[in-house]
Structures are given as C-alpha cells and as structure tokens.
C-alpha cells in the first residue's frame, strides 16, 4: 500500500509508527485486502452478524476461562475451589458468571448462525466445508458445555452429568467401555472431574481453535453467501458494502451489544452454586441437563416410556445418528438453485428440525413441572 493511503491521521509521529509497522509486517497489504473484500447488503444481512457474535462469546470464554484456571482446583477440592471463587475471591462471582453465561450465549449464537446459514442455503457449493466445519464447532461447543457443567461438582452438576453419561453407556457392545473411560470408573467421582477438566481446558481447545481457524479461513476465501432470492436479482440490483471499515464497524457495534447482554445477565443474575454433591444422596427431583441437551433428553425419555428396554434406547440413538447425518449431508443433496425441488425439500427439513428442537425442548421443561 502506498504511504499516501495510510489509514492513520496525517500526524508525523503516527505516520512514522505506521510506516515502521507496515514495512515489517505488510499491514498495507492486509488493509488493501480488507478494502477489496465486500459483504452483500440485503434485507437478510442481519443474520451475517451471528458468526461474529459467536466468536465474540468464544473470546470471552477464553479470557474468563483463563482467569478461573488461576483458582480452580480439579479433583476432590473442586467444589471448595468453586465456592471460594464464587464467594471469597474478589470479583470471582462476576468472572464465573460471565464464563457460564457466555458459554450458554455462545451455544445459542452458534445455533442461530447454523439455522441462518441453512435457510440462506449458504452450505451450497463451494461452501460445503464451511458447513461441515461449522457443525464440528457446534458439536465441540456442546461438549465444552457438558464437560464444564460438571467442574463445580455441585449437586445439580453431579446428577445431571451422571444421567448424561448414561446415554453413551446404553450403546450396544461398546457402551460400557465408553462410559467407564469417560467417567474414569463405574461412577462419577473426583477422577471424572480430572478427566473432564483435561478435556475442557486442553483437548477441546486443541481441537476447537484449529477448526475455528479453518472455518474463518473458508469464510474469508468464499465470502458471504447471498440467499437465493438475492441471487436471482441482476448484478446491477445487488448491493454490497466494503468489509473494512463499513461492515467491521457494524460488527464491532454488534459485539458491544452482545457485551451489554452478557453484562446484564452476569451481573444481575449471577450463576448460582448449589450444595456440594453427595453421591450417596438420592438424586434431586427434576434433574435435567442444560437447555441445549434438553431436546435429546426429552426424546430419549419419551422413547424409553413408549418402547421400554433396549428398543427405546437403540431407536433414540438411531434417530439422532440418522438425523445428524442427514443434517450434515444436506450440502450433497441440495447442491444448487438448478434443483428447485431439492431446495424446497431442504428448506422443509430445516423447518422441521427447528420445530422439532423447539417443541421437544419446551416439552422437556414442561415435563419437569
């Protein structure tokens, strides 16, 4: 980038600093690339922000997670350390609340992002790998949530994890082996916390971060997809805005709004810590997983009632496996606007999935009453 197009104000000191950095880091090239990149502008542009919002909550997770790491002690002292974080350590309650709330908000944002991508048909060629890597990120985010949920080792976390781990244990042949491996034995105990902790702070980040980088690189490579309605318009009627600074300024404004929502929830509704888990005590009434597992929980519960025994469990696993596969392979079915019938079927599948998740989640909470 020529020096005259430097983005900094024409102040000698700032110009010198910019030139110094530009010469060594090639910032001008990055600026030129950002200025060339555009983002489509249409009535559904609002949905483009949800990927960025998910990323923002992930960054909050990283910062607050590192702060929690300073005081958290996995193993037999887990509960006591979380109690100290929540009640004794200055601003520990706020950091823990921000971590827990941002985890939930991140999963929520990823869900919104996924459905918006689905309905805008942004999984079509050449964006199939973006879709698959996004699904991988959602899966990892949910395992992040599940593994983090146990770490305080309070009553609710203990029993919810115990119930949750019974699901993979029902798989034929390998179920018991997998269950024991994840738990570190036949029961949920301090060993399980140790394993979940390792999973939560080492293994999952090691998988999540490279996959996230890959996903972002694909977004950069292929740009934002436009919905089919916009695609039909002649090029002269399509509008777009520069990524930098127009879209980026709006994206940052969205982050600011997301921060407001997070601050409101974390400060006015701090995350509570229940009584310490007692493995010998009976499970409290109405034990249930986090909201993003409620749909699966309810389906398994209902199938277990309708088809008692192994049949219900296998049926449940078959539905999830089949549904997940269908969802993941949709880019291979709905490949482009040339096949209108397939496009319509895919849209209906999306509506069905959205309705099924919403209804079974609400049903699950209603059944707890």
């Amino acid at each position: 980038m020529p020096k005259s197009s430097s983005p900094v104000p024409d102040i000698p000191l700032l110009r010198t600093a910019w030139d110094y950095a530009d010469e060594r880091l090639g910032l001008g090239e990055v600026m030129a690339l950002a200025a060339k990149k555009t983002v489509p502008q249409h009535k559904h542009s609002f949905w483009y922000y949800w990927g960025g919002i998910s990323l923002f909550f992930f960054l909050v997770q990283c910062v607050t997670g590192v702060l929690l790491l300073v005081y958290y002690r996995p193993g037999p002292e887990a509960y006591e350390s979380v109690r100290a974080i929540t009640y004794d350590i200055e601003f520990g309650w706020l950091v823990r609340s921000a971590h827990s709330w941002s985890a939930n908000l991140m999963v929520f944002s990823i869900f919104v992002h996924m459905f918006s991508v689905f309905f805008m048909k942004a999984y079509r060629k050449p964006r199939e790998f973006g879709w698959w890597s996004g699904l991988g990120l959602l899966g990892l985010a949910m395992i992040f949530g599940f593994s983090g949920y146990l770490l305080p080792m309070d009553e609710l976390a203990f029993f919810a994890t115990k119930v949750g781990l019974e699901i993979p244990a029902t798989m034929p042949v390998v179920g018991e082996f997998i269950g024991n491996m994840v738990r570190g034995g036949p029961d949920v105990n301090a060993n399980t916390i140790q394993r979940f902790f390792a999973l939560h702070v080492v293994i999952l980040p090691a998988l999540f971060i490279p996959l996230l980088m890959f996903h972002l690189w694909l977004v950069q490579r292929h740009g934002n997809a436009v919905p089919p309605g916009e695609e039909k318009k002649p090029a002269s009627e399509r509008r777009s805005i520069p990524f930098f600074p127009n879209f980026m300024a709006k994206d940052l404004a969205m982050w600011l709004l997301a921060l407001n929502v997070l601050a409101l929830l974390a400060s006015l509704y701090p995350w509570q810590l229940g009584p310490e888990a007692d493995p010998l005590a009976p499970a409290p009434v109405g034990i249930h997983p986090e909201w993003y597992f409620m749909s699966q929980f309810q389906v398994l519960k209902v199938l277990g009632e309708w088809f008692p025994g192994l049949t219900g469990e296998i049926l449940g696993l078959a539905i999830f496996t089949g549904g997940g596969l269908l969802w993941a392979l949709i880019p291979l079915f709905d490949t482009g606007s040339r096949f209108e019938q397939r496009a319509r079927i895919a849209t209906w599948i999306g509506f069905f999935a959205l309705a099924a998740i919403a209804i079974t989640t609400i049903w699950g909470y209603a059944a707890l009453e």
Partner: protein, 515 residues
C-alpha cells in the same frame, strides 16, 4: 383480586408497576423529547428549504401521535391502577399532598393530547407558520407535564426537611411547594430532560430507518445523522448531572450505594450498584452503536438496527428506573414511610404523637392494620394476649416452637402479606424460599429478630425496613416462613378464632385479610 394486599405470584406487585412504568417512561419521555424534535425539525426544514423533510415529518408525527397519544396515555393510567394496588398507603400519601399538582398535570396533559392531534391533522392544511406554532404549543405543554410530575416523583426519594417536619400532623399539604421543589427536583428534571432528548433521537431513528437508502439517499442521510445528534447532549452532560444527583440524594441512599461499591468484589449487597453500572454502560453503548451503525453509514441503517437501538434504550431505561426505585430502599417515601408501608415519622394516634414502629411493636401489627375488620382486630388482640397459654410446644431437638396450627399459619401469612409482599414473593422474584434456603426454624427466627431489632450496625438497615409486630406476631411469621421454606412444621387441628368468611380451611385465610 385480593385488594388491598396485592398478591402477584412469581413476579410480585413491584414488577407489575416496573413493567408498566418502564414501558410508560419509554413513551412519555419520547412524547416530551419528540415534542421538541418535531417543531425544531419543522423550523429547520422551513429555514433550509428542505421540502423532502417536510414530506417525512408528517409520517413521523403520525407514528408519534399514535404511540404517545394511545400507548402513553393507557400505560400512564395503568401505573395509577398498579400503584394503588401495590402500595395503597404510599399512594394515599401522594394524593393527600399533591392532588392539586396532579390536577395541573392533567390540564397540561389534555392540552398535550389536543395539540398533538391538531398538529398531525393540520399538516399542509393551515398556514405553515401557524402549524409550527401548534407544534411549539405542544412542546410547551408536554414539557410542563414533566415539570409537574417530576416534583411528585422526586418527592418520594427526598421529601425534604420542611415537609418531614409536618409529616403525620395532618398539615402536610401546607408544605406543598417545599415538598414539590425538593432536594432532587432540579438534577432529576435535567436528567429526565436529557433522557427525553435521547429518546426523541432514538424513536426518530426508527422512522428514519424506514426511508429507502437508495431512492431517498439525501433525505435518509440527513434525517439519520440529525437524529443521532439528539443523543449527544445526554452523552456529554449526563455524567455531570448524575454526579449532582448523587450529591443530593439522602444519606440512606448514599449508604446503600457505598455499601454496594465496597462489597462489589464479593458480590453481596450490590444489586443497586450493579443496576447503576448497567444503566451507565447501556447508555454509553447507545451512543457508540448509533455512531457506528447509523451516523457513519446512514443509507445502510435499516429497521432491524433501529429496533436493536430501541432494545438497548429499553435496557438503559429499565435499569435506570429500577436503580432509582431501589435507591429509595428501605423507604417508599424517603425518611417517612418504609417499604412495608410503616411510617417512620411520628403520627397522631389517640391524640399522642408516636411512631408507628413503636405502636405496632407494643399494640400489634395485625390488630392495628387498617385492612382488618373490627371483629378481626378484636379477635387477633385476644389471640395475642392469650398466646402463652395457647402454644402447643413441639419438640425440635434443643429448642421448642409453637405448633403450626392453621390459625398460626394464617396470622403468619397475614404478616408476610402485610410486611414482606411489597418487595418479595414466595417463589419468584426475590423469593423467600431462595433467600431463606438452608435455614432452619431457629435461623429464620434469628433473621427476623435482626430485622425486628433494627440495630444501628445492622447491614440490613441499608435496604430493609424494620419488621414490626408483637412477639407473637413475629413468631407466627417465623412459623409460616419455616413452613414455606422447609415444609416441616407439624400441624395441629385448627384453633382459628375468627371464622373465615368464605372458606372453611386455612389455605384461603389470606383472602380475607382485607376484611
């Protein structure tokens, strides 16, 4: 309906008022700020010869008329209903002092409603200069409604020394102007005026966002940018006026804030402070978001973005109003009436000036509540005097407690409804079940004892009113709360001394509390 003690499950009566009030503030402040926006915009358009603005403004004024004239008026009446139900004693105090003020406010309100209708329906039908004058008349009337109502609202936080000196004597209205122009009147008036200007800008952004950025590029650019400028006065002046406001609020409110600031690290006693911080953050966010999304790229500013700004404005309004309400704790009328409707200042009882706290503690709360019938008062007084002989002890390890007879539970529930329900619910907002979770019978008694003793060094003094009543009444409340939280109290056959008028069992007794 369970008037006069209004039992709203889940959210509590306070949030019913809160929700209506937040909605009302969003609209009524827009009515005032927008009242200035319209004639200023019209005058600017005429001065600059902007015909396109004069085509946009009638559309904006239609939206303005419907929103303020219909929803503003309805929600305002809604607040009246709600406060009358949730806090009848406090509402009575306000009416007795400010009935004339309210009458004046209603006159201005009627002028406001009439002129806004004339303003909208006479666009391009009467001479432009005359139309503009109607707009200015509307602006003046709407500002006057704020000038009047602000005196009544601020009175509730800071009634002022002069009014407090005559409170309870029956001559309170003689200090009308002192109560009206109370210590927080001016900073609050300026704060609210700034909020009005901001809301005028934000609502104008809503209608401005509907303009076509391609076909009406110049109009949209100027309207959006001009509307964003309306946010600037509050952004720059609000911190200074807010500091002024903090300087004049009562010591109890300052104590509450400083308690929150000093304990924010541990997260205890910080609800007000946290709400104030949310209010500051969301107010600042509005300006930044409006700059980045609207001012810098006005043609791309769409309805969805405007709605987001509106939501943040709602958040700012909600947190500010809630913080203002909580700052009054433990009073509903500062230094005069506690949030449980018990007066702090002496009142004339049987020809003598005594405090209600003292009176209820010696003569009984239930037996002196204005909401009980004569028969109930007599019966409860008798029950209280015979308490020692009637208690059926139940062994609870090292201590003894009275049996949870239906009659005791009923008296306990009446105490709960009379003194706790204004701020707490059983299982929802500020839930007693959650707050007392893990406490045994004795521990609940200790907490009630602290509230009853109300010692100078108690941290609860900053936000809780004193718990009044005789020993027997407080014990009944203790039994009731234990039953509510632990569900363990043993029950013996009913010894009810007052026949339930409608129902034969103990569960419906509370319905008869009003007599």
């Amino acid at each position: 309906m369970n008037y006069p003690v209004w039992d709203v499950p889940g959210i509590g009566s306070g949030w019913v008022i809160g929700m209506i009030a937040i909605f009302h503030v969003m609209i009524s402040h827009f009515a005032i700020g927008g009242g200035l926006y319209l004639p200023i915009a019209e005058a600017t358009a005429m001065k600059r010869g902007r015909k396109d603005w004069l085509e946009f403004l009638p559309r904006h004024s239609k939206f303005f008329l419907i929103l303020t004239g219909v929803y503003g008026a309805v929600s305002g009446v809604g607040i009246w209903f709600a406060i009358g139900l949730a806090a009848p004693e406090a509402t009575s105090t306000l009416i007795h002092n400010f009935v004339f003020g309210w009458a004046i406010e209603w006159v201005f309100f009627m002028v406001e409603l009439s002129t806004v209708a004339v303003y909208y329906y006479t666009w391009n039908r009467i001479p432009a200069r005359l139309h503009l004058k109607v707009g200015w008349l509307y602006a003046a009337a709407s500002i006057m409604t704020l000038v009047v109502i602000n005196g009544i609202l601020t009175f509730m936080l800071t009634p002022g020394e002069a009014w407090l000196a005559v409170a309870g004597t029956g001559e309170e209205s003689s200090k009308f102007f002192q109560a009206f122009f109370n210590p927080t009147y001016w900073p609050s008036l300026i704060l609210r005026t700034l909020v009005c200007l901001s809301l005028a800008g934000i609502w104008a952004l809503v209608t401005g966002s509907l303009l076509d950025g391609d076909r009406q590029a110049a109009l949209k650019t100027t309207v959006v940018r001009w509307s964003v400028l309306w946010l600037l006065p509050s952004f720059f002046l609000m911190p200074f006026v807010f500091l002024w406001y903090l300087l004049v609020i009562p010591e109890s409110a300052k104590d509450l804030l400083s308690l929150g600031v000093s304990t924010i690290g541990s997260g205890t006693f910080t609800q007000v402070t946290r709400t104030v911080l949310i209010s500051i953050m969301s107010s600042a966010t509005i300006v930044f978001v409006a700059y980045f999304i609207a001012y810098r790229h006005p043609r791309e500013f769409r309805f969805g973005y405007a709605c987001m700004l509106l939501i943040v404005a709602l958040l700012a309004t909600a947190s500010t109003e809630q913080a203002r309400e909580m700052l009054r704790k433990p009073y509903v009328v500062g230094e005069h009436m506690y949030s449980n409707a018990v007066r702090k200042t002496p009142v004339k009882i049987d020809g003598k000036m005594v405090t209600e706290v003292e009176h209820f503690n010696t003569s009984g709360y239930l037996t002196n509540t204005p909401w009980a019938t004569g028969d109930e008062k007599v019966a409860w007084a008798k029950t209280d005097s015979e308490r020692e002989t009637r208690i059926v002890p139940v062994s609870t390890g090292e201590s003894q407690r009275p049996a949870a007879t239906p009659e005791t539970l009923w008296r306990g529930e009446l105490m709960f409804r009379g003194q706790c329900l204004a701020c707490h619910t059983r299982e929802g907002y500020r839930s007693m079940k959650r707050l007392l979770h893990g406490r045994e019978y004795e521990s609940i008694g200790n907490a009630l004892g602290m509230l009853h003793d109300y010692s100078e060094d108690s941290p609860y003094r900053a936000f809780m009113p004193p718990l009044v009543g005789t020993e027997g009444e407080i014990e009944a409340l203790q039994v009731y709360l234990d039953q509510l939280v632990n569900g363990t109290a043993e029950s013996t056959p009913s010894q009810s001394v007052v026949a339930e008028p409608d129902k034969g069992d103990s569960t419906g007794h509370a319905e008869s509390a009003g007599g």
